[in-house]
């Protein structure tokens, strides 16, 4: 049994009002609560209380929350994480707004992660009985759901092994310097249930984040997102293009504090018996940018 999904992400922004403009007016997230220097947000098709918490002061990732399916899973993962050699602490209900008890630990990649089972249910924007296809008055891009994140670490094999052994993730795709025993693992994209990927790592500085992504419906939605990003003068890093690695349609862009976001569509479903796909470094241009085959020089160097 694996963890279930990325449920929440906490990040820092230099200015909360500007962040609100980006995440609400441009991306179309809904404000759940504004409290002191914190902003809680959710997407229209998410049923839990929030998926993003932004705190004013600095930039970059604070922590990730992955939800587990059953209450007893917390003890199961606590044991597995400790057995891997990573210290965990218990987190009591209410330490995070609207989130139940859980466990907290720093992954070998240097990122703070929490596992939890409960978050206050507040329903989607379309409801659960005879719902319309989407809310009638979506704002901007109208992102439906938070999807995954790509993290940086200086030890990809260790980060991958931790996710596999302690959290029951499986690698969907891997990037290696070359095939064979001498090949170095340079990136790994892992899933826990049925998504294309739920967490990923590329080589870089410990504890930093490359981006977090929102899942859109299809390529047309990516096109629409691109139009909104330009109208709002959002700094676009790369795309629209197709990832060979994951078959995802994509645009990368930056929030007003410099945190990178992605809108992602397409991809494929994964299963417990999904066979891992391998990309070799000489094909990085197609892995990242299948059409253009050219990677923005800052795509892998810039993070927060």
């Amino acid at each position: 049994m694996a963890v279930m999904r990325l449920g929440y992400l906490h990040a820092r922004v230099t200015n909360l009002a500007e962040a609100k403009r980006h995440y609400v007016n441009t991306l179309g997230m809904q404000v759940v609560l504004e409290q002191d220097n914190r902003l809680y947000l959710k997407c229209w098709d998410e049923w839990d209380h929030h998926s993003l918490m932004l705190e004013e002061g600095g930039v970059g990732l604070i922590k990730l929350g992955y939800k587990v399916a059953k209450a007893e899973d917390l003890a199961y993962f606590e044991q597995k994480i400790e057995a891997f050699g990573v210290r965990t602490t218990r987190m009591s209900a209410g330490e995070n707004l609207a989130v139940g008890e859980g466990i907290r630990f720093t992954m070998p990649s240097g990122h703070l992660m929490e596992l939890y089972h409960e978050m206050e249910f507040t329903n989607t924007a379309v409801g659960l009985v005879n719902p319309p296809l989407f809310p009638r008055h979506l704002v901007g891009v109208g992102v439906p759901r938070l999807d995954h994140c790509l993290l940086k670490t200086d030890d990809i094999p260790l980060a991958e092994r931790f996710c596999i052994e302690a959290l029951d993730f499986k690698p969907a795709e891997r990037l290696v310097s070359e095939l064979g025993d001498t090949g170095e693992l340079m990136g790994t994209w892992l899933f826990c249930q049925h998504k294309t990927h739920d967490i990923a790592f590329v080589a870089g500085e410990q504890g930093r984040i490359h981006h977090w992504a929102y899942k859109l419906e299809n390529w047309d939605a990516i096109r629409h997102a691109g139009a909104i990003l330009s109208m709002d003068d959002t700094s676009v890093g790369f795309g629209p293009d197709i990832h060979g690695l994951s078959r995802g349609d994509t645009i990368y862009f930056f929030d007003p504090a410099g945190n990178r976001n992605e809108v992602f569509a397409g991809g494929y479903e994964t299963y417990q018996d999904f066979p891992t796909v391998t990309w070799t470094a000489d094909e990085i241009p197609r892995a990242v940018s299948y059409i253009g085959r050219e990677i923005a020089e800052n795509h892998f160097t810039v993070d927060t």
Partner: protein, 136 residues
């Protein structure tokens, strides 16, 4: 009067609009160099401020541009707004790229602003040509 930005080592010059950041003005003319998020989060666009004064109207994270760097004359062009004429220098490992009309458009606007004045020799000294005395 418009403030003029000079980018060393090749001496590209262009005026900035009131309140406009260094990077926004450069991009408006099609001048480009190695940058990152353009939103103050990554520090990839940091450069040496050779002369002039800049202000930061938006908050800059200490983790991106530290007080020590600021004191050493490092600036963050995606956030820095010139309040005087400014001279900045690209990193030696980078080079300035130009759009098809960059210099022509910049020259037109410098002319309109009556700022076609020849920059002081000291402003345009190449980074690779620093007098030996300054290095000691």
């Amino acid at each position: 009067m418009s403030h003029v930005v000079t980018i060393l080592p090749d001496g590209a010059r262009f005026p900035v609009r009131p309140g406009e950041t260094l990077l926004a003005a450069a991009r408006r003319y099609g001048f480009a160099y190695r940058v990152g998020c353009r939103e103050g989060g990554c520090g990839a666009c940091k450069l040496e401020l050779v002369s002039g004064e800049l202000v930061y109207s938006k908050t800059v994270a200490e983790s991106v541009l530290s007080d020590q760097e600021h004191a050493r004359g490092i600036c963050l062009p995606c956030r820095a707004v010139p309040v005087t004429d400014v001279v900045i220098r690209l990193d030696a490992t980078d080079r300035l790229r130009r759009g098809p009309f960059s210099d022509r458009l910049a020259k037109r606007d410098l002319n309109k602003a009556d700022r076609l004045d020849v920059p002081a020799e000291s402003e345009l000294s190449d980074s690779n040509n620093v007098p030996a005395a300054k290095l000691s």
